[in-house]
Symmetry: C2
DNA sequence: TTGTAGGCGTTATCAA
DNA sequence: TTGATAACGCCTACAA
């Protein structure tokens, strides 16, 4: 059996109270006693039982994150970087992170929120891939569960979290393409209920308008934000009668697929057609040709989000409740290079 | 406050015992009572408190997984796919997964194992990136903690888990390259204490030997399994006096970096130099040119590992304690195509 | 078929 | 400075 606080107390012929307080660093314990207790506990391999502690303290020292899995086996570097950020920051504060996966807006997702929140499995939750109208944020607000989100929903007034300025980013990208002479600029988006899909599309339209280019519905298509999806959609664009000279993609994965489609059509990315993405994941720099993209600091954003959440949980004052980040336009050869 | 079983009982003027048993589906509860209880509980939003249940049942319904983060901000699609597999399978069985990240063999890693195991935070653990001599597996065995691993260590006799036959895979790849006329075949490996690094290198050497090609130490280099790492190491190979005609990489990420290095040296992958990787992640198919690789079913392996672990935890008999999987050689244009 | 009561391992209140 | 004791919310032997 694992050693409990009772074992330690018995071993030392002390009360469990004293042992508990000695270990938790209370100052009303004799220094000698404290040292002795600490040493013995370590020697006996004592670690406080989490369930018992949780039950008593009414907190879990755990935060939750649900991976939005569009399809089974689906993956995106964005998420692994995001998770790494969360768990590194959480680990530094002795918090654990609970991860599950569920398709966006599914029953599974709803059940997980129920289980975690009502069952007191987590002290707080990190939400990303926010939808325009997102029941998760309302649910968490109503239940007064500490939470932060990457992106905000339209429906919610109070928002604590980080927002990456997709709109300005894409607009800047489009402006850049226009400067290089492009007029036929296509756009491959994502699920329309996503906040980022909404913002990025708006940025694209704003960029065109600014340049006095009339929008062309035939040049705006939707993908599922995977490489496969980007490939299929781009193929249609490339083979259509009025082929665009540039394609702006909602994320790097779709852009990578698009580049592949361009190549398979016997064209050269960056020469015949310009391609650009959004995310700035490690791979983007190693595609052939290297991908022009809007880089967002996913890892550090995840860390900062976690930091904000931990502050909320501890009822500490937040320096900033809302942080805005501008993605950085990185111009590479896929749009002709700089 | 959240609703407890006591609230539900009081509301119905029943004892908590009856409520508990009704909810848990015992058959010594009157059908009418059961229905009433179920309905009321749902209406009141009752969800059993996990901590209390854990404490009482002495299990957590949670499994642990520690992300091996070589450096901060490091990511690999392999892991996000792996996590997706674990959490999908776990979710289906109402298990949660606890994730943390720690550099391999670090103090952090050790502390996490202590906390999780001794503190009873998890019922079992999934281990991957196994080292040749791996204290984690010994630790878990000694403590009798249910665990499964992807790959086995040399030191451990009893092994429950899955092993991908890296050795045969790479050997087959080398044989294929030799058939296509390559004699100067280089190898970019990974950290030498890793089981997969050991196996893959051995596979490479066996492939050469089989073909009667004398090993050349200058052609065997080591990377950190990232794209950046692969890029740097490959650059040295490509620019060396006796440039190889083919480079076998320990994983896709390194291979992607290597392709980039080849291109930056004014050469063409698949024409001047053949490049191949290992993993078969989604991106591999979309590189330019598409990457020859040994595909391993990461997602389904993760699911199966999880299934095995859950069986161990439940003391169910395992169909197979050790599963061996052969990676599939997928030949694409990066080695000249099929 | 339902209820009573004890305890899982901690922490916190209060008294000594 | 230390110790006895009562919760935290749930499950389950046992009694009714």
């Amino acid at each position: 059996m694992t050693t409990t606080i009772r074992n330690v107390a018995k071993q030392l012929d002390l009360s469990i109270t004293t042992v508990s307080r000695a270990l938790d660093g209370y100052d009303d314990v004799a220094p000698a006693t404290r040292k002795l207790v600490a040493r013995t506990a370590r020697k006996m391999g004592y670690v406080p039982n989490r369930a018992a502690r949780q039950l008593r303290r009414q907190r879990t020292d755990t935060i939750g994150y649900i991976l939005p899995t569009a399809s089974t086996g689906f993956t995106d570097l964005f998420f692994s970087e995001f998770i790494a950020g969360i768990s590194d920051e959480a680990a530094a504060r002795q918090f654990d992170i609970l991860v599950a996966s569920a398709p966006p807006d599914s029953d599974t997702e709803k059940e997980l929120y129920e289980r975690w929140v009502m069952g007191g499995k987590v002290d707080g939750i990190i939400v990303n891939r926010v939808r325009l109208s997102d029941w998760r944020l309302n649910f968490l607000s109503r239940r007064q569960v500490p939470h932060v989100s990457l992106e905000r929903s339209l429906s919610k007034r109070k928002f604590v979290g980080i927002e990456v300025d997709s709109f300005s980013g894409i607009r800047e990208l489009v402006t850049h393409l226009v400067k290089r002479g492009h007029r036929q600029i296509a756009y491959i988006g994502g699920p329309t209920d996503l906040k980022i899909a909404h913002d990025r599309l708006a940025g694209y339209e704003a960029g065109l308008q600014q340049a006095g280019i009339a929008p062309n519905r035939a040049l705006v298509l939707q993908s599922d934000m995977t490489a496969e999806g980007g490939y299929g959609v781009a193929l249609r664009l490339v083979r259509s009668s009025n082929r665009p000279t540039a394609i702006v993609c909602i994320n790097d994965l779709a852009a990578i697929g698009a580049m592949h489609a361009v190549h398979d059509s016997g064209l050269v990315t960056g020469h015949d057609i310009a391609i650009a993405g959004f995310d700035g994941l490690a791979e983007a720099a190693h595609t052939q040709p290297p991908l022009t993209t809007l880089e967002q600091p996913v890892y550090s954003v995840a860390r900062q989000l976690t930091r904000m959440l931990l502050a909320l949980i501890a009822h500490e004052a937040l320096e900033e409740e809302q942080v805005f980040v501008r993605p950085q336009l990185i111009i590479r050869a896929s749009t002709g290079g700089e």
